[in-house]
Amino acid sequence: MTLDALSDIDLFERDRSLMAVLGRRIAGQQTIDEWGLDVDLVGVAASLLPLRIAVAVDGAHLVPDGPALIVHDRTPLGIERTVVAVGLGTALQRSVRFTGSPDLPVIGPVLARLGGVSGHGADIRGLLHDGHLVAVGLDRTRSKDRRTGALPASAAHAAVAVGVPILPVCVRPAGPGSRARLHIGEPVPTRRRRRARPDDELDNAVRTAIADLRVLGRLDG
C-alpha cells in the first residue's frame, strides 16, 4: 500500500482530538504529502465546517474506488470547490483534491494543506496516477459563450494519459430551507480515446452530461 493510500485512510480514522493533533505537531509526527496536504488539518477542517452536514450527494456509488477526475460546473457564488471537496470527501470518506490553488505566498500553502493543487497538467497527472480523486471546475475562459465553461485542457490530457474516468458533477447551491446538493453523473470513459483529440470529444461529452444533470436537478426540486 502506498503512502498516499495510507493517508486517505488516516484522514478519517486517526485520532482527531485537539490534544492528539497538537501532540503530533509538537513531535513532528503529522502526515504531510508531497503536494502539501496535511491530514490532520483536513480532518479538523472537515469536522468544523458546517458544510459537512449541509451537502447532500446523489450518485456517490458512481465514484470508483480508484482515481477519477471530477468535473463540476461553476456557480455564481464560486463556492463549488468547497462544496465538492467537503461534500464528496465526507460522503466517500476520502480526501478530494481541488485545483485552482494559486502559487502565492500564504494563501497557496494554506490551500495546499487543505488539498488544493495548481491546475498544472503534471500535478493532476501525478495525483491521478497515485489514485486520488481530483476535482476541477469547467473553465469559462475557454468556452465560446463564457457561460457554460469548457473542460480544462490540462485536466483532460491528464485523465487520458492516466486512463481514468471523468465524473460529471452538477452543484446546486444551498437555498433558503434547502441543502446544497451534488449530482454525480455516469462516468465518461477515457481509456479508448488515447488516439483521439481529447479536447473536443471529451469536452462535449462532459458538458452534455453536466447539462443533463442540471435539468435532472431542477426536476428533483
Binding site: G28, D33, V106, P109, G121, A122, R125
Partner: protein
C-alpha cells in the same frame, strides 16, 4: 562489464564502488576523483586526478577501455567546496570526462548523477514534476546539473548509446556532506513565514542502489529517484527536536550570514528548498529500475539526527 566511476572519493561514489565490487559479473572497476575513496576497496583501481587535468583523464579512460561510465563527480555547492569552486569543478570534470569518453568506442551506456533541482521552483511551476516536465532550473546548482545532463546526452548521442540521468532528491544522512543536512542539524532552523512547503529527500544507500540498478538496465532518459512521502521544514526541525524560527524577506540575508558563521552555509538551492519546497514524482524510476527507495522521507530526516554513541577506547590502560 568494465565500469568507470568518477567521483569515487565521495560517500556515494565509494558506496557504489563497494556494491559493484560485490557483484561477480563486474569485470573491472576504475575510479577517478580529487579525493581518495572513503573506504578500503579491494578490486577497484583508483586514480587521483584534478577535474581540470584533461590529458590525464583522457589517458586513464583510454587505458581502461570502459564499457559503462558512471559520472558521480558532481560537486554540490557548500557540500565539499564553496559554491563557485563547486560549479567550476563540476563543469570542468564533466567536459573533460565526456571529451575522453566520446573517443572510446567500447562504452555502451552512461549513467549520470543529477538532481531534481533541474526542475527549478519558479512561480507557477508544477509542485511535483515528473520526467515529462522540461527542466527549468532556478538556482546555480540546478543550472550546473542541467549542463551535466546536456553534455552527457550529447556524448551518448555521438556514441549511439543510452544515457540515464538519475535526478536524485537532496541526498542527506548523518555522515553525508550536505548543506541541507548541516542546516537542519543547527539548533535553530529557519522556516519561511510565507509558507512552510513540503520537500522530499533520499537516503545515500537508496541512491547507491538505484545507480547500480541503472547500470544493469541501461535506460535512455531521465529518472527521478525520490524517497516516498514528504515533510515540511518546520516538521523536519521538530523531528530533530530543533526550534523552527519563521523568517521573511530580508531576514533570509541574516540567516545566510548566521548559518555560515555557525558552520552550515546556505547555498541558493537550499534557500529555494526552504522557501518554495522541493519534491518530484519517482514512480517511473521504480518501474524502470525495479527497485524502490526503502526509506521514506520522514525516516531519512529522522535518521539524519541520529548519531551513534561514541565508545572511547581505553588506550592508556591497554596492555602494551
Amino acid at each position: 562489464m568494465r565500469v568507470l566511476i568518477t567521483g569515487m572519493g565521495g560517500e556515494l561514489g565509494t558506496r557504489v564502488a563497494m556494491l559493484l565490487e560485490a557483484d561477480p559479473t563486474i569485470e573491472a572497476i576504475c575510479g577517478i576523483d580529487v579525493d581518495p575513496p572513503r573506504r578500503r576497496l579491494h578490486r577497484a583501481t583508483f586514480h587521483r586526478l584534478e577535474p581540470a587535468d584533461r590529458p590525464r583523464t583522457g589517458s586513464v579512460v583510454q587505458a581502461f577501455e570502459p564499457t559503462a561510465v558512471v559520472h558521480l563527480g558532481i560537486f554540490e555547492p557548500n557540500a565539499r567546496s564553496g559554491p563557485s569552486r563547486a560549479i567550476g569543478l563540476t563543469a570542468m570534470g564533466t567536459v573533460g570526462l565526456f571529451a575522453a569518453v566520446t573517443a572510446c568506442p567500447t562504452v555502451d551506456r552512461i549513467i549520470v548523477r543529477s538532481g531534481i533541482e533541474v526542475y527549478g521552483r519558479r512561480r507557477g511551476s508544477t509542485v511535483r514534476p515528473d520526467e515529462d516536465v522540461a527542466p527549468d532550473p532556478t538556482s546555480p546548482f540546478g543550472l550546473s546539473l542541467r549542463h551535466v545532463e546536456q553534455v552527457a546526452t550529447d556524448a551518448a548521442c555521438d556514441l549511439g548509446v543510452p544515457a540515464t540521468s538519475l535526478r536524485f532528491a537532496p541526498i542527506v544522512g548523518p555522515h553525508f556532506p550536505s548543506p541541507l543536512g548541516r542546516l537542519l542539524r543547527l539548533p535553530v532552523v529557519p522556516v519561511s513565514l510565507l509558507g512552510d512547503h513540503p520537500f522530499s529527500v533520499l537516503h545515500q544507500e537508496d541512491a547507491a542502489r538505484s545507480i547500480v540498478a541503472a547500470l544493469a538496465v541501461g535506460h535512455d532518459g531521465p529518472l527521478n529517484v525520490v524517497a516516498p512521502g514528504a515533510v515540511s521544514v518546520a516538521q523536519a526541525a521538530r523531528l530533530g527536536g530543533r526550534m523552527a524560527v519563521p523568517v521573511v524577506g530580508p531576514g533570509w540575508r541574516g540567516v545566510r550570514i548566521g548559518s555560515e558563521l555557525a558552520g552550515a552555509p546556505m547555498p541558493e538551492h537550499v534557500r529555494e528548498l526552504l522557501t518554495r519546497g522541493r519534491t518530484a514524482q519517482g514512480g517511473r524510476a521504480v518501474e524502470v529500475l525495479g527497485c524502490a527507495p526503502e526509506r521514506s522521507t520522514a525516516d531519512v530526516v529522522t535518521h539524519l539526527y541520529e548519531w551513534s554513541a561514541v565508545t572511547y577506547l581505553d588506550v592508556a590502560g591497554a596492555p602494551a
